[in-house]
């Protein structure tokens, strides 16, 4: 089967891409003025101590040896020690990853559930009030900073109307965290039947997810609209109409063929959200990877920052790999 062949070729390419990405991440540290040794030793260390730490970090070795050692460690899942939390970076990341996934997953799901039907509808209708509103919204949302929108939402729904909890993280302070299964609070609380944790975590999710969906959904919306519009104007839909097929059938044909671009944009959306989540997490004190990245920048925690950057690139590659594989499912011609 071609699917297997294609997939295996893509999977073979992955290590090469990873190697280049790791090279870039490795050299990012070289951008730093000075060297990281002193971040570990502090300003009052003896020369012996400095030399010892340099040896531990392999900084006394030639650069290609350093890179080889870095790769050796990374492959074993060792991203070094975080200067701020004094934990292995890998442990830190594993603790925070579910929080970020929770946000991105929900934002992608809602963006697709709202954006695709709205895009398809406006492509079919082509005129009218809803189209004008959607057009204006699409232009506006692309210009608004997500972190600012989040703050306005907090002011309106938390301070003014007291409808939703404030930006204090993922769950109420008095609510016990559900037993960890996936690490995503709302899923864990469903699985363990913990109703109190469920309502609290969902209430805390509303504002950050609404912010991300409001700002980033137009990406899906505009793409679905133009893909569907192109298909509705194409020869095969005209032919279907000429053959007397019902409008519903025409729309079905068009939508089926508009799927590949929509899938691509869903991948791009996920990639965007990974960056967008950084700022929104910071506003809501979400405690995910994004906030971890910001804290490591502010505290010059270079090992942590390196880990997050590397992981975000790996995540991106996986997303785009999935997008390519999804093409096989929706486009029979590739088979």
């Amino acid at each position: 089967m071609r699917l297997v062949k294609y997939t295996s070729r893509r999977l073979l390419l992955l290590p090469v891409q990873l190697l280049v990405v790791s090279l870039i991440v490795f050299f990012l540290v070289r951008l730093m003025p000075g060297e990281p040794t002193f971040l570990y030793t502090g300003p009052f260390a003896t020369m012996e101590r400095v030399a010892e730490v340099r040896r531990q970090l392999s900084l006394d070795q030639p650069i290609y040896v350093q890179y080889a050692k870095y790769i050796e460690r990374v492959v074993q899942g060792d991203f070094g020690l975080s200067l701020r939390t004094s934990q292995p970076v890998m442990t830190d990341i594993r603790q925070r990853l579910p929080a970020t996934m929770e946000l991105i997953l929900l934002a992608v799901i809602f963006s697709v559930l709202i954006g695709v039907p709205l895009g398809v509808y406006t492509a079919i209708r082509n005129t009218g009030v809803i189209n004008r509103i959607v057009f204006l919204y699409g232009m506006m949302a692309g210009a608004l900073p997500d972190f600012w929108f989040a703050l306005i939402a907090i002011f309106v729904f938390f301070y003014t109307f007291e409808l939703l909890p404030g930006p204090i993280g993922r769950i109420g302070l008095m609510v016990s965290v559900p037993e960890t299964i996936t690490g995503m609070y709302f899923i864990d609380s469903i699985l363990t039947g913990n109703l109190e944790a469920l309502t609290s975590s969902v209430a805390h999710l509303v504002l950050p997810v609404v912010t991300l969906v409001f700002i980033y959904m137009p990406l899906v919306l505009k793409n679905a609209q133009s893909a569907m519009g192109d298909m509705l104007g194409s020869d095969f839909v005209t032919f279907a109409r000429a053959s007397g097929l019902s409008r519903l059938m025409q729309w079905r044909y068009a939508l089926r063929n508009a799927m590949p671009p929509i899938i691509t944009v869903t991948g791009i959306l996920t990639w965007f959200l990974l960056g967008g989540a950084v700022l929104v997490e910071t506003v809501f004190a979400w405690g995910g990877l994004g906030q971890y990245a910001v804290q490591s920048v502010v505290n010059a925690d270079y090992a942590a920052l390196q880990g997050v950057v590397l992981l975000s690139a790996v995540f991106t590659m996986i997303v785009f790999l999935l997008v390519d594989l999804a093409y096989f499912v929706v486009d029979p011609r590739i088979k």
């Binding site: 730093m32 232009m139 930006p167 950084v278 910071t282 920052l305």
Partner: protein, 300 residues
């Protein structure tokens, strides 16, 4: 002045400028965009001198005053006048956006011409250079933009120069790709073959004959890239990795106002955010308009 209704404007009368004016009249959104861009450029030049209050030092008196006649946008937690700071901010925000976009434009166009002209069917070392350029830009784009920008600035430390360097670096692949795809079409045109027959070297053809004809798409992309750069700069400053604090900058002003939004002082973050959104929208609208103006199939 006696233009009677029905008088015909001959084509010879319509110069490029008249054509531009006529196009702009038909597109109110383009006019709005150009107005916003003009105001932002004006404020970048003169904004810091217009406000009546100092923009980087605290005033004596009550902090967090709501909007009033003296302080149209209120004052912040250090009792700095928000209006004076909002109109002073374009200086740093636009400087960063314009300089980084200019660098990205030049770098992206040059690399795009090389990779487009010598790519694919090219021969010798130029072909490998072309492939290398493309794979390099693939790798840069494998990183989520904001996280990569954060990391670049994080390792270099905050400051306008480092933000400029990071944004220029991240925007090069966009200009590169757009230029490359234009060059790939242009290099097949007969005039390129003619230039070759006239004895021009390949490098001369690429930079003297092909490059000027491939500039339209990257030029149209300048305006939205400026808007995007302003957005990224403000995001970096918001988390403390961009422009350091007392300098008036919209993102850092929103960061200063963020804690106040939870206690009801809405004016602290609202106004810098509106200024930011309107400016980015303006550059987006101008870019969309220019794109249609430069594309002959969409002009009518």
């Amino acid at each position: 002045m006696a233009t009677t209704p029905g008088s015909v404007i001959t084509i010879a009368e319509v110069g490029a400028f008249d054509e531009f004016v006529r196009f702009a009249r038909r597109r109110p959104s383009f006019m709005v965009g150009m107005t916003i861009v003009a105001i932002s450029l004006f404020l970048a030049l003169f904004g810091p001198y217009i406000g009546t209050y100092p923009t980087e030092t605290a005033l004596p008196g009550d902090t967090l005053q709501p909007p009033s006649w003296n302080h149209p946008f209120g004052t912040d937690v250090s009792n700095m006048d928000i209006f004076s700071r909002v109109i002073a901010a374009p200086r740093i925000d636009l400087t960063i956006a314009l300089v980084s976009t200019a660098i990205a434009f030049i770098g992206g166009v040059l690399l795009g011409v090389i990779s487009g002209y010598f790519g694919g069917g090219g021969k010798g070392i130029a072909r490998y250079v072309s492939e290398g350029i493309m794979r390099g830009s693939d790798i840069i784009q494998a990183f989520p933009v904001f996280i990569f920008a954060l990391a670049l600035v994080g390792f270099r430390g905050p400051g306008a120069e480092n933000v400029i360097a990071a944004l220029a670096f991240l925007n090069i692949p966009y200009f590169l790709r757009i230029t490359r795809s234009a060059v790939l079409q242009i290099r097949e045109r007969p005039f390129v073959e003619a230039a070759r027959c006239a004895g021009n070297s390949e490098w001369r053809i690429a930079f003297v004959h092909v490059l000027p004809n491939a500039l339209t798409p990257p030029l149209a992309n300048i305006s939205p890239t400026i808007g995007f750069s302003i957005l990224l700069t403000s995001g970096l400053s918001f988390v403390g990795a961009g422009v350091p604090v007392p300098t008036p900058e919209w993102g850092s002003m929103i960061a200063i106002g963020a804690p106040n939004m939870m206690t009801g002082q809405w004016w602290t973050a609202l106004f810098p955010g509106i200024a930011l959104g309107v400016t980015i929208l303006g550059y987006g609208l101008m870019g969309a308009g220019l794109n249609d103006f430069l594309d002959p199939t969409k002009k009518r």
